[in-house]
Every structure is written in structure tokens, then in C-alpha cells.
Symmetry: C2
């Protein structure tokens, strides 16, 4: 049940057996169907979620009836809206399940309680950085951005429609199509 999440947590914090069960005791499983929203714009992101199965897309609606994809999440990723979760203010973005999915979630209050009990939980804070993209890569040309995604997060390319990947990489679907043709 908790194997994957424990192995992920272990990468960030050295928890004792007791601390680990304190942690897992607070986890709640949540099932989502394809298309369901894990987080809506205007709502505060109060849950910190680990993807057990399925995948998610974080996006915001831009002016012209189009959506801009900010991040994509697959199994074993932590999914949340960094801005809303850390500031506990209304989210500007949506997070949507792109397949039938299951997450394990812990509330921000639960997290705070744990951190209050033991310094050992501090490391977990670093998981928050997963919600951030490296700004430097944004400055590279389209082909490099795609190649980098291929090497760093190959599962993304398998799971998601290319139009989402294009938006995530900040290019049009046409450009992504040409990049893929070129490097193949």
C-alpha cells in the first residue's frame, strides 16, 4: 500500500519507523476519474498529494479560450499547486486527472503537526521544490527543451497527449511535431 510513498519520503527525510507510521496514518486515499479536478482555480490547495497511479495536468486558462499547461505529473510524483499550497491562498490554476488516478494525500495541518513533533520532517519541505521548474531550461531553444524532457522525465512523453507536452514546453503543437520528426 505505502511502499512507493515511503520510498519517496525516504529520499527527503530520515524518519524512524515510528515517525513513518505517524506519517502514513495521516494519509488519505482519493480516487479520481479521468477528467476530474484535483484542484480548482479560486480554491486553496490544502492537501499535499502523492500520485499512486494515473497522471495529472496543472494548467491555467489564458485569455483566448486556450489553456496553458504549467506542469505534468505521473506516478510517484508529488502533485500540488506550489503557490497556493505554500501561501495558503486561492489557486490561480487547475489540476486535472488525465487518467483514472489515485492519490494519497496529507493535509497541511497534518504536516504542520508532524513538523512540530520532530525536526526529522524538515527534509520533506524539499519536496515542495518538485513543484518548481528550472527557469534556465526555459531559455533554451525548443529542441533542447524537448530533449531535456526526454532524458529527465521520459514517462511524461509516454503518458500525455503531445498538445499538452507542447504547451508545457512553451511551444506550439506544430513546432513540437517538427522537433520530434527532426530528432527521430
Amino acid at each position: 500500500m505505502f511502499d512507493e510513498i515511503i520510498s519517496s519520503v525516504n529520499q527527503y527525510a530520515r524518519l524512524t519507523e515510528e515517525e513513518l507510521s505517524e506519517f502514513t496514518n495521516r494519509l488519505v486515499s482519493r480516487q479520481l476519474s479521468k477528467g476530474d479536478l484535483l484542484l480548482e482555480k479560486g480554491v486553496i490547495n490544502r492537501e499535499f498529494c502523492f500520485v499512486r497511479s494515473g497522471c495529472f495536468r496543472q494548467y491555467y486558462p489564458s485569455k483566448e479560450y486556450e489553456e496553458i499547461t504549467l506542469n505534468l505529473f505521473v506516478a510517484d510524483d508529488w502533485v500540488f499547486d506550489h503557490q497556493s499550497f505554500t501561501s495558503q491562498k486561492a489557486s490561480e490554476n487547475f489540476i486535472q486527472a488525465c487518467e483514472d488516478s489515485e492519490v494519497l494525500s496529507i493535509s497541511i495541518h497534518g504536516l504542520h503537526e508532524l513538523i512540530g513533533k520532530s525536526q526529522a520532517y524538515f527534509g520533506l519541505g524539499r519536496i515542495l521544490e518538485n513543484g518548481l521548474k528550472d527557469e534556465k531550461t526555459n531559455r533554451n531553444p525548443p529542441e533542447e527543451r524537448y530533449l531535456r524532457l526526454m532524458t529527465e522525465r521520459p514517462q511524461i512523453i509516454q503518458k500525455f497527449p503531445l498538445k499538452y507536452i507542447a504547451s508545457y514546453l512553451g511551444m506550439t503543437p506544430e513546432t513540437l511535431s517538427r522537433v520530434r520528426k527532426k530528432i527521430s
Copy 2:
């Protein structure tokens, strides 16, 4: 001496008088001359700094002997390398004083000790977000990026050479020059 930093801290955390003096007791003043490096590439950023006077530029050297500016800091800003500070790994970037400057710094160990003593310091963690740029704005055209900087951080435009501002905004100096001509 500590007026500005206390007023900044108060925006993030509700500290008692005692907690505040615990905090200020750990502060160390550091003077830098124009051109001095506050942080070098390859070094771990172990200090969390508040700018009392002067200004700073965070940048990294890209392939072709050019430097890319990631962030600019002025008085009352908190200056640090987000990635290096939060991960406590070697920095990929430099931070350089662009004028004779003074910072007040607290070590990461000092911060951890304080946080261990009182939950009240938690809010300080949000200061870390100042080191982050909003990814959405990067997707806007050059003119909008400049106008946004003008309204959100007008001091930046006064303090720094335009070539740094151009790099920070992800455009060439020529483009910035034309944007400025157009809107004036």
C-alpha cells in the same frame, strides 16, 4: 539598525518581542564593495541575507562568454540562491554586488535553531518564495514583461544598467531599448 528587517519579518511571521530579539541577535552585518561576490558558483549558500543598502545581481555564465541574469535585488529584498539554499548543495549561480552594499545575514543553522524553538518562525519560510519568479510572466511578450516590472519593482529599473534588466527579462538590450522608446 534593524528597523527595515524587522518590518520585513513582520510581514511573514507574528513574532513576540523576545522572539524578535532572538532573531536579530543572530544577524551579522556584512559589507560588500561594488563587484564583490556574495555567492560564487560551486559554493553552498549557507546564509540568508537581507539587503540593507546597495543592490545585487544573480546570474550564471552561459556557453558563449555571456552571462544570464536570473534575478535582481535592491534594499529590503532578501537575497539568496533559492536552489542552493533550500537544497544545501553547490550553487550553479553567482550573486554579485552591483554597488557598495550592506547585508544582514543569518545562517541556515541559526534559522533551524529558531524554527525548532517556536512555530512562530514558520512563516519565514515564505520569504524563500521571493527567490522565485512567476513562470507565467515569462510567457508574455517583451513589452508586457517590461511594463510588469515597471509596476511591480520600479526600483529595479532605476538601479541597474539596462543590459542586466534586458537579460533578466529574457530579451536583448536592443529589444529593451525599443520597448522603452515605444512606451515613452
